[in-house]
Amino acid sequence: MKTIPIQAVTPEFSECEESGVVPKQNLPLVRREFLKGSGILMGTLATGSILAGLAPSPVWAVELKTLTKAEGQTLMAMGRVLYPHKKLPDAVYAILAKDLDGSAAGDAGAASMLRQGISNLNALAGGNFAKAKADKQLAIVKGMEGSGFFNTVRGQCMSSLYNNDMAFAAFGFPGSAWEKGGYITRGFQDLKWLPAPSKEASPPAYLG
């Protein structure tokens, strides 16, 4: 069973993360009393989606330690401009905000650069970047290309957006193959829409 590696919403979930097995739980609502950060990003996974099936709860929440909720939302919006994926829920873009927030914790220089960049995004959007129209957002981000802030956010996208189980599921990459015995009997040559190579070019698999 895959788990969504967003930080656990409640303390009793922390053990589940370590074991890698997250039993489905019916959360009435995210328990706000445990969330005491500088900002909380929250959302709901679409019911019936692949991702909702993998998650312990359709409700997700991410706690920021340094940035505000509004700042986190701006970073999420910038992430969607940089790498716009309809397949990815907001929860994945929230990981970007959380990871950037994490790098800002205890690093005043990094925090200041992020805040300044976010502030620039909002100013250029006439107040609220996250609510600006798509073409406006794109033009603003394009104008920042090459800046330290742009490079930091774009670089962080590589691992935050793609190196997690939600992205793996959304894009169809099964991740580790070892514990499933590899693909020797699981479709490594199941492609049928092109002619098969000759036995000389591609000998049959040895199956013992």
């Binding site: 020797i184 070019a201 591609s202």
Partner: protein
């Protein structure tokens, strides 16, 4: 396993445990010679390898600081990571894809065949294919290379099917699942390939040859090997006669140690090997050890590389199975009518979802780029690898502005593509795209070079001492008991993946060292 005393000056000390160092160690141990292997990295195992791209990268890759310069694109995209090679017992044989091709006859004498190429420092090898052939045969047998020694080829995966179909439509003839040092059936105490798809992350099934679980344990079983992981060598020492006497290294506790030696063999890959010779400069050898020619660190080659990815209407699932699942060899031959000298191979490649966005086109973003990730399951990929031109100005130097944690200047890797490399890359990109279009691609992408996995030529073999660093045995021209034992020896790069040749040279060098020791010449 042997325990060799620090002041024992009768042993051969080998620096590095990869394709060159690990093989040489086993070959010497089998002959009854005592060997100390100093490996900078830690010891992993198939059990500790992980099918996780970033985690594995942290576990295996050489991540100590390096710097870059030059006009090659890697310097822009990966300024602190010129090479994707390993710091671990087994070296880059943990990471390599397994392609095991012999060089072609003419590739040992390209200066003669290609003539003078402006801006290139070409030289014929001091050895010929026929001299190396018996050692190629030994290496293929040792490594269990498919399509040699009666070993069947591997079964091709979906990624290979796509490349094969397109190649056949274009009329390419030599298209198959390659000569791979990956067991297609159980052999040598190791199982057959499980088609895991994580060849680059260390083969968890052990089907792919790596010195980590072949040469090294076999050498340990002789009782002649003293393997010291996490031993970072900072200096090779010599006496007043100009012969090397031992090495200084920092052990896993950060403690400085001095190991005496009868012979020192350097096999730290083509970046660290010249760096160590340069770091060992002394009053007697002011420009570094074995550097009377001034060629140490020069002629750095990294192969002409690039990749083509293509998206199809239907699923491919390229990540399933052997990463390098097949090859097209028709462009590897010498045919100057194409507008360049040398040739290139086309070999399937795939990246997992975690690495794909970082390597498809480093730095790229936007909706068009996101489109490629959206089509991940429908992608096929191939790697292009060809002979690049050795240039004196492409070189490893010491960057005294940046120090590693032991206080030594780091290696700077400078590389400018030669015009021949650029023309060849464009030709290869075009052919790669045509192959995928012939197979029905809806879009193709020209992916720029990854950090170098084939690092070659920085202590090259030469007939004359003034042209290179070592003689035809890898013995340095200047110091009789100092040997170069890795890909640094390559006089020129050839089109083929280098590991089989590194292993063959190591087997051959072991015979020579043993003979020289018996004759008391060293």
């Amino acid at each position: 396993m042997a325990s060799i005393a620090f002041n024992d000056d009768s042993a051969v000390v080998i620096i590095g445990s990869g394709a060159g160092g690990g093989t040489l160690a086993n070959e010497l141990c089998q002959k009854g010679i005592k060997v100390v292997v100093l490996e900078a990295g830690a010891r992993q195992s198939p059990q500790s390898f992980v099918n996780d791209e970033w985690k594995s990268f942290s576990q295996l890759a050489w991540l100590d600081p390096r710097t870059t310069s030059g006009t090659w694109r890697v310097a822009k995209d990966f300024s602190g990571l010129p090479a994707w090679i390993c710091k671990t017992v087994g070296g880059s044989t943990t990471h390599w894809a397994g392609a095991s091709l012999r060089f072609q006859e003419h590739e040992f004498r390209v200066k003669t065949v290609y003539g003078d190429i402006k801006g290139a420092n070409l030289l014929d090898w001091p050895i010929t294919l026929s001299e190396l052939e018996p050692y190629y045969a030994k290496a293929e047998n040792k490594m269990g290379v498919t399509r040699t020694n009666g070993i069947p080829g591997l079964p091709g995966n979906n990624n290979f099917k796509v490349m094969h179909a397109g190649a056949k439509k274009l009329g390419y003839k030599e298209v198959h699942t390659g000569n791979m040092a990956i067991n297609s059936q159980p052999r040598d105490g190791r199982g057959r390939c499980m088609q895991l798809g994580f060849c680059f992350q260390g083969c968890k099934s052990g089907a792919k040859w790596s010195t980590l679980y072949t040469e090294i344990p076999k050498a340990e079983a002789t009782g002649n090997l003293d393997l010291r992981p996490e031993a970072h060598v900072t200096r090779i020492e010599h006496n007043e006669k100009g012969l090397v006497t031992g090495v200084v290294y920092f052990d896993k506790d950060g403690k400085e140690q001095r190991q005496k030696a009868r012979v020192v063999c350097v096999a730290g890959n083509s970046i660290e090997t010249p760096r160590l010779l340069l770091l060992s400069a002394s009053n007697m050898f002011k420009d570094g050890l074995a550097n009377s020619s001034g060629q140490v660190g020069r002629n750095y080659m990294r192969h002409m590389t690039g990749s083509v990815y293509a998206a199809f209407k239907d699923p491919v699932h390229m990540y399933r199975g052997t990463t390098m699942a097949g090859i097209i060899r028709d462009e590897s031959f010498f045919n100057p009518k194409r507008g360049f000298v040398g040739g290139y191979e086309m070999e399937t490649v795939s990246l997992g979802l975690a690495f794909m966005p970082a390597f498809l086109d480093p730095g790229a973003w936007g909706a068009d780029y996101a489109w490629w990730m959206d089509h991940y399951t429908n992608l096929a990929g191939m790697w292009l690898v060809g002979e690049d031109m050795p240039r004196e100005t492409n070189r490893i130097t010491l960057n005294t502005n940046v120090k590693d944690k032991w206080g030594s200047p780091v290696a700077n890797v400078h590389y400018d593509d030669h015009e021949n490399d650029i023309v060849m890359r464009n030709h290869a990109f075009t052919q790669g795209e045509r192959i995928y279009q012939a197979a029905g691609a809806i879009k193709t992408y020209r992916t720029p070079p990854y950090p170098s996995t084939h690092n070659l030529g920085t202590c090259r073999l030469s007939a004359k001492a003034s042209d290179g660093v070592a003689n035809k045995w890898g013995q340095t021209h200047d110091i009789d008991n100092l040997f170069i034992s890795d890909g640094s020896q390559f006089t020129t790069g050839a089109a083929e993946n280098p590991t089989l040749t590194i292993v063959s040279l190591a087997i051959r060098q072991a015979d020579y060292i043993a003979k020289q020791m018996t004759e008391k010449a060293i």
